[in-house]
Amino acid sequence: MTSLFRPYYIIQESEMAQPLDYNRRSRLKHVDQVFRSEIINIIPLTDMEKLFQLRILDGAERERFSFLPGQFVMVEVPGYGEIPISISSSPSHKGYIELCIRRAGVVTGILHKTRRGAVVGLRGPFGTHFPIERMRGNHILLIAGGLGLAPLRAPILNVIENRTDFHDVHILYGTRQPDMLLFNYQYEEWNRISDINLKVIVEQGDESWTGPVGLITDLLKKIRLEPLETYAIICGPPVMFKFVCAHLQREGIPMDRMFVSLERRMHCGMGKCCRCNIGSTYTCLSGPVFDYWTVMNLKEAI
């Protein structure tokens, strides 16, 4: 007698044989397959943060990999775990991606101990992005607090590469102390070469600090805005973007012209594990980039 049920082999589906591409969200794929990637450089930024340059080993996979500013990847260190990290490099840069990682847990701990040449796994890109295309012909405010400069660096670089498309560009960056400033070797370039108004503020100065001391909103007050011709991107802790967005709203910038990037715990990046739910909105699918109107309607967001 023949067997009643013929086994269904999902690996025989033609979609499964296609090259792995996480940008094709609706396609069936080996969702747990990773791009093997080599750490080509590690650049210490502060005591807590390092910048990792990662290159996907397979040439064809590397060529196919593309992302937009604001998206994130899942970084897996086999034997240790997997974590979501936003991409800090420019989307037009093809050879490698840059990830700014703070030492905070198990996986980031081992990454901070690892050396150049180590091979990790990469899945992604996931999530929504900052709609830079839509911002053309406008003034741009790029505002970061603390580690928020990590996700903000991708749109910063993207704006710089297309500098002629925009009017005034302001970068405002605030941290607690001067020794916590990220990417301080790049300020000069952004400020002087790229004709950008960059202002940095700290909450507590030290002996060597000559810049302003205070909150990021103090910097904001000094800028004269044309609210209906301005877009804002704000990355930082909730308490910070709440005050910043409230200020910008008072200045008259429409809420759908302000974008924030939210942080949540994530285990999959694909809308399955529910760990990143804000209410019941998946940060990994509908975010991490949200406009401020959406954030206002997510009860748990701030």
Binding site: L4, R6, D32
Partner: protein, 346 residues
């Protein structure tokens, strides 16, 4: 839909046919509770006599056969500092006999999340497509409110669906696979009397449900966001996560890496989680987005009765009441929904 009538004797033959051919999962009595009431679970069976289709409900849902509590997503072998990854999907065919409408509806809801158009899960789809499902109609279980959430009737998501007409079964056929397997035993076309008896049984079942007011629940959840009801119930909550474990639709999980003792291999293990656990939304650095029980309990209901409705036009909850039955602290969905509905009436 095609319908056939299957005699009780032929049904036994049919099940034995399945038992001889494939792994069969069915409701089986596993003991009695303190009041002497039988307890059932969906378990592998070897003989027809082990199956108890008159069961009222099972303690656990059948989701474990689609979303196992623990599943290896991939394994990594380490050799000379180089790692290599293997992924396997489960393909062995399996039959589940005797699922109730709520549990089949639960699978349809899981399909929307796990086999939908955003990152379909090969792990889930492989299990789902390799599972032959035979459902059965039943009288409402104690506490069940499936009718209120529209989960007491099922029109797809199964291969065959039985309705007991005492001396025979009325069989709904929903797949070619079901049609072909049924051809191995003697069946006949339904007569007017069969149709009549079937509709009588359905009417009898439908008339037995206790009403539960769920009108406008998604909006009510928003209005009741700061309600005292959440604190009242959360104060009892032990954060044990049992509600999510027995739930047929809870699908959230966590990933952990398990390394072998000789450090030669590691596995990426997916383990079902519960939104009631303290660290559910805790991020690196220690910040917890849901630090208190009140918030966590609220968001379980928020996801089921508001968020899922927003995304798929239907609640995630199928009203099986397993969470209410299993809760050690007596927290249950009917009382919570009832409290929310009446808070402003008092």
């Amino acid at each position: 839909m095609l319908f056939k009538v299957l005699g009780k004797k032929e049904f036994t033959t049919f099940i034995e046919l399945l038992l001889n051919d494939t792994e069969v999962i069915a409701p089986k009595q596993v003991g009695v509770d303190t009041s002497g009431k039988p307890l059932h679970q969906y378990l592998p069976v070897q003989a027809f006599t082990e199956i108890d289709l008159s069961y009222e409900t099972t303690e656990y849902s059948a989701k474990t056969y689609f979303l196992p509590f623990r599943e290896n997503l991939s394994t990594c072998s380490f050799l000379d500092m180089v790692w290599d990854r293997q992924i396997k999907y489960r393909v062995q065919p399996r039959a589940i006999i005797g699922l109730h409408a709520c549990d089949i509806n639960a699978l349809l809801k899981l399909d929307k999340v796990l086999a939908g158009d955003r990152f379909p899960s090969p792990y889930y789809i492989s299990r789902r497509k390799n599972t032959f499902i035979v459902g059965i109609d039943h009288d409402p279980c104690e506490g069940g409110f499936c009718q209120a959430v529209g989960a007491d009737v099922v029109t797809h998501g199964f291969d065959l669906y039985l309705t007991d007409l005492e001396d025979r079964y009325f069989v709904a056929i929903n797949s070619e696979r079901g049609f072909n397997v049924l051809q191995r035993v003697k069946t006949r076309e339904p007569t007017a009397r069969d149709n009549n008896d079937y509709l009588d049984v359905r009417r009898r079942i439908a008339g037995q449900f206790k009403p539960l007011e769920v009108h406008n629940l998604p909006n009510l959840m928003d209005i009741e966001f700061e309600s005292k009801v959440w604190k009242k119930w959360a104060d009892k909550c032990l954060s044990c996560g049992s509600c999510a474990m027995v739930c047929p639709t809870c699908y959230c999980y966590g990933i952990e890496e398990r390394v072998s003792m000789d450090n030669a291999e590691s596995a990426k293990v997916k383990q079902l989680y519960s939104c009631q656990f303290l660290d559910f939304a805790m991020v690196a650095g220690g910040h917890n987005f849901r630090p208190d029980r009140e918030t966590r309990l609220k968001y379980r209901y928020y996801h089921q009765h508001r968020g899922f409705v927003e995304a798929y036009e239907e609640p995630l909850c199928v009203g099986c009441y397993r969470c209410g039955r299993v809760c050690l602290a007596g927290i249950n969905p009917t009382d919570i929904i009832g409290d929310l509905q009446t808070e402003y009436q008092e």
